[in-house]
Assembly symmetry: C2
Homo-oligomer: 201 residues x 2
Amino acid sequence: MAFADQHGLESLSMRKLGQQLGVEAMSLYKHVKNKDDLLDGLIELALDEIEIPREDDGWKDGMRRRARSARAMFARHPWAVSLVESRGNPGPTAMVYYDSVIGCLRRGGFDIAGAAHAFAVLDAFVFGFAVQERNLPFDSSEQVAALGTEVLAQLPQDRFPYFTEMLKEHALAPGYSYAAEFDFGLELILDGLERLLPGSS
Amino acid sequence: MAFADQHGLESLSMRKLGQQLGVEAMSLYKHVKNKDDLLDGLIELALDEIEIPREDDGWKDGMRRRARSARAMFARHPWAVSLVESRGNPGPTAMVYYDSVIGCLRRGGFDIAGAAHAFAVLDAFVFGFAVQERNLPFDSSEQVAALGTEVLAQLPQDRFPYFTEMLKEHALAPGYSYAAEFDFGLELILDGLERLLPGSS
DNA sequence: CTGGCAGGCTTACAGCGTAAGCTTGGCTTA
DNA sequence: TAAGCCAAGCTTACGCTGTAAGCCTGCCAG
């Protein structure tokens, strides 16, 4: 995990990892079945950093908590995005996660189908947002400004009037942060789900 | 693209691609700068299959159209998911796509910030859903039944009561299709966005 | 007729995951 | 104390990858 955080997932090879540990590549195979096994372990570590809903959380707080912490985890470990994307089989940590999320929704009043809906839409949003955020070609707001003005200079602005406008008057405006879009989307979805509940007319 | 559809992205190597074309691997480099260049071209082809909103679409219809067609494209070309995920730089097709989406929203009455919100949440959902769907370890509903019962048999059911329940009574129920979750989430988000509009009090 | 050049081919290299087998040192047990 | 096992490392080798460098051939313009 330290290696992935430091050097990125694409440069994690058995040889380099061994080198960092002061060991030959093949020695790692005493501890790990193969590279996929190692990557599965990495996912497990990453998923374990996602906070699951507490027993005493209402469904909305519980979902908010896990969504926010998932986003934070993906921001801390960008490699986890590609990893989760590229391999499917849920490990034990994923099972705990699934069960606690569904449980939180069911206790909050959702029927089975409703909980499935809620889970699907929230999960898709959280993960999709993590991907978007990781693919942004900048990290800080100085970088976004620099890159934005450069793009603007090269762009045939008359061909993309709406995009240009948004870049100029929104994304490049002081204080803009893409991260804020996360809370917006999250609350929108949570409010929409709330309306499904019996008793919200 | 044909090769990727047929054999999957992971087995697309320059040598194998050349072989399929009756040509040596290195010959491809006369037409393509390097493999990344080729992959960028693939993305371009894939994105081009996403329907963009029509001029006469209302914002809701426009967004629904592009969301649905994006999902359909990802279903047709599963490799496009990993590809979009792994490389960021938007090409010309992506620019057209961005501009038309933002334009559709703006014409529909969203202010700049609102359009940015809407774009972000919809895009995250659509892409996140595509990833989920691609990672499902089954393709048909017979497969889901077979796999589901197998998982159920192995699972320590008492440890994951909610998950077990959902599997038994929902996912394994006849006629269940994960795909239906897409429209649910999409409409939920669209309805949520509608409420942002002035005049919907 | 000639030059350029597009489109292919050949060779070669470094890096990858990993199969197969070897060495070593410490612990367990008789 | 001796015997045996085994965990943890090392070595070598194989087939795969992307691609740099350079060569050959045939078409087409001047």
